[in-house]
Structures are given as structure tokens and as C-alpha cells.
Amino acid sequence: MNEKWPMLKIHNASKSFNGVEVLNNVSLEVAKSDVLGLAGPSGSGKSTLLRCIQQLEILDGGSMECDGKIGFMFQDFQLFPHLTVLQNLLYALNLGEKNARRRQSNEMQAKIMLKNLGIEAKASMYPYSLSGGQKQRVALARSLMVDPDVLLCDEPTSGLDVATTMDVVLLLKSACETGVTMIIASHDLDFLTKISNRIVLLRDGKIVLDVDVKQCQDPVNHLKKYYAD
């Protein structure tokens, strides 16, 4: 498939909650294997846009088309607390899978993924015993297990310290290498410029800026100007 084939097309998307417009005619195309950063102040509509793409919210107007399976990584992880790390990864995948060999290969795949993320020792532990960074890794691993074509990440670094944020950058970068298209919502511009090749700035539910990170000399400062206006 053409690398620049649009994986996701959003046309005039609008959404309001209790009369307050959160998305205002947002139109966007995301190419295959693109890593798109969604920047913007709190309440600008980043999370709502992601939730609409995942169909956790229904659009009031406009349309969205996605050419593949979508994975979602929640801001607060939303791991299943009564399942172990390994069970969290495998549950959805093994559901209805009667073939023992395939179940076994799923388990192998999950273990390899945990190993790659450096948390293979936590496989049999419950989420409450993990640190924030470890939960983040499990959440990423779980969303990658279902083999998504598009991965949506909602504030993947919120509440994490600098070192763990760097780990998350590396993690997401390694996920990008698998060719998955990513849309990452964050208010952390440094983080976004490290990971994305394109950044879209949302303000009051509208796209106010669309930056190609490689073409821009100082993307962080460039984006900051639009934050302040």
C-alpha cells in the first residue's frame, strides 16, 4: 500500500456537550504510518477528537472514515484490576479462541511483548502492584496486542516523571517502527516534537495550526506562539 495513503479521514467533525461546542468542523487526514501529535490547551478538544475516532462518542455532525482496526490507550490506563498483567494482554485476544496452539502462540507473543517493554517479570502480577510507568507499558502492550492499524494515545505522559516520559518516547517510537499509524494527544510540546512527524494544534475545538515537524526549525516555540494568542 502507498505510504501516504490516508488511513484516517475526518471531515467537518463537530461535537458538543450540553450546548458547549467541543469540536467545531474539524477536518483532518492522517496518512498511513504517520505519527500525528494533537497539541492544545486543556479543553481544546484533543481527547474528544480521539474518543470520536474510537467511536466512544458519537459525532453530532461530519464524518470519519478509518481504513483499519483502531487501538486506544487511555490516559488513566484502564487496566482490568482483577486480571494479571498477562491476562490483561491476552483476554480479548483469546476470547472465543478454542485452538490450543493459537492460544499458546498468543501467550508467547504477549510474553515477547512484555520482554521488549522490560516488564516480563511482572507478567503474573496484578495492576495495583505496578508503578505508573509500568502500567503505561502494560496499557501500550495491551492496545498493541490486538494488532491495530491506528493507535490512539490519550495523554500518554500525564503524571509521569521525566525519566519515565523518556521511556514512553522510546516505547512509542519502537511501536511506530512496526508501521502502525499513531495519533497522540498531549499538552506536552517537547514530548510531541520528539515523537511525531506532524503536529496539529487544536484550540476551542478548531485546528489552528498544522506543522510538519521536520520542516520547522523550532517547532516547540512556533507552537507556543499559537498557545498564547
Binding site: 474510537q54 466512544l56 483502531i70 487501538g71 486506544f72 487511555f74 488513566d76 484502564q78 487496566l79 482490568f80 484490576p81 482483577h82 483476554y91 480479548a92 476470547l95 496484578y126 495492576p127 495495583y128 502492584s129 495491551r142 492496545s143 490486538v146
Partner: protein, 215 residues
């Protein structure tokens, strides 16, 4: 001393009846309660479930028991034995309370748990069975234990339709021997022991599922 022992044995036979009645009722109450609380999430059925809860909670249990044991056989022409009528009446009554307890448990779960299940493509039935209800059960366990203990004590109402439970037997002994204190004390000890047993089992289960308490 012989009288005490023979009274204990006589009342002990009622203990088995009380246990059967309580266990049967809680099984019906739990099954129906879970069904009702899940049904509450279906838009068409919300009013139906609310109506059911309202009627059950708004009328006395003794009335419900009388309707099931005396009126319904009259209407449909089939007689019911006391234990079955008791299990149906107490079970239906308990289902409304269990459904309410479950509702509060479900509402206390983060919305994200439902959303996470959806984003992973988990079908609704499995989401409820494997993701939502196990977490809810863990949260509501102490309240549920209270409900079982309350139900155990409510089963004493079975005596009004002639059920030979601990309470009824203690009254029979008291009437025969013109001695109320001793048989009632024995009944009290039996009920207390049963309640403590339920509490003990509840605590055991709670400890076993405490894996997620800090999450």
C-alpha cells in the same frame, strides 16, 4: 439437662430448614438480582426494572409471602410446598435489594472500564461476565454479606405459612412447656451462629479477592 438437649435437637431440625430456605432464597435473589441490574442498562427495560424494585421494596415481605403461598395457588390451581413458596417469595424480595446493591457497585466502577472493554472489541456478554461483574462483586461483597444476614433473619416470617424453621419450633416448644426463655435463647444462639458463619465465609472470600483493593 435432658430437656435442654432434646430442645436443642428439636430446634436443630429447624436449622436445616432455615439453611435450605436461606441458601435457596439467596441463590434466586442473586441470579435474578444480577439479571435485573444488567437489564437496567438496556434502555427499553429500565422502567420495568425500576417498577419491579419499587413494588418489591414498597410492600411488606409478609404480604408478598402470603400472596405467593395463598393467592397464587388459588388463581392457578396448583399448590406449592412451604419451602418452595418461601424460596420464591424471599428470593424475589431479595432480588430487588441485590439489584440495587449491584447498581451502586456498577455505578462506582470507572466508565473507562466499560470503554476499555469496548475498545478491545470484547462482546457485551463477556464484558459483563468477565470484566464488570467480577469487579463489582469484589466492591459490593461486604454489603452483600449484610443482605444475606438480613435475609437469614427475615426467613423467620416463614412461620406464618407453617414453615417449621428454628423460630417456629422454638415457639412450639415454648407453648408445650410453658417456658419461653430457654427455647428462645437456643433459637437466638442458632441464628447468631448462622449469622457469624455467613460473616466468616464473606470475610474469607473478601480476603481471597483483595488483589485489586489498592488499584
Amino acid at each position: 439437662m435432658d430437656t435442654v438437649i432434646s430442645n436443642c435437637i428439636y430446634l436443630g431440625k429447624g436449622l436445616i430448614f432455615t439453611l435450605e430456605l436461606t441458601m435457596g432464597s439467596i441463590a434466586v435473589g442473586l441470579a435474578l438480582g444480577v439479571f435485573l441490574s444488567v437489564l437496567r442498562h438496556c434502555r427499553i427495560c429500565v422502567s420495568l426494572v425500576r417498577g419491579w424494585s419499587s413494588i418489591i421494596r414498597g410492600t411488606p415481605l409478609i404480604l408478598q409471602l402470603s400472596i405467593i403461598y395463598f393467592s397464587i395457588p388459588n388463581l392457578i390451581g396448583v399448590r406449592m410446598n412451604i419451602l418452595s413458596a418461601g424460596i420464591i417469595a424471599f428470593g424475589l424480595n431479595s432480588s430487588a435489594y441485590v439489584a440495587e446493591i449491584l447498581r451502586s457497585g456498577i455505578e462506582s466502577l470507572p466508565k473507562g472500564q466499560f470503554e476499555a472493554a469496548r475498545t478491545l472489541g470484547i462482546p457485551t456478554f463477556y464484558m459483563w461476565r468477565d470484566i464488570i461483574l467480577p469487579q463489582v462483586a469484589m466492591n459490593i461483597l461486604p454489603t452483600l454479606v449484610n443482605e444475606v444476614i438480613a435475609l437469614l433473619k427475615e426467613t423467620t416470617l416463614i412461620s406464618i405459612i407453617g414453615g417449621m424453621d428454628i423460630m417456629r419450633r422454638s415457639q412450639i416448644v415454648a407453648a408445650e412447656q410453658f417456658e419461653y426463655f430457654m427455647p428462645l435463647c437456643i433459637a437466638g444462639v442458632y441464628y447468631y451462629c448462622l449469622a457469624m458463619l455467613i460473616e466468616f465465609i464473606g470475610e474469607k472470600i473478601e480476603r481471597k479477592v483483595a488483589y485489586a483493593k489498592n488499584s
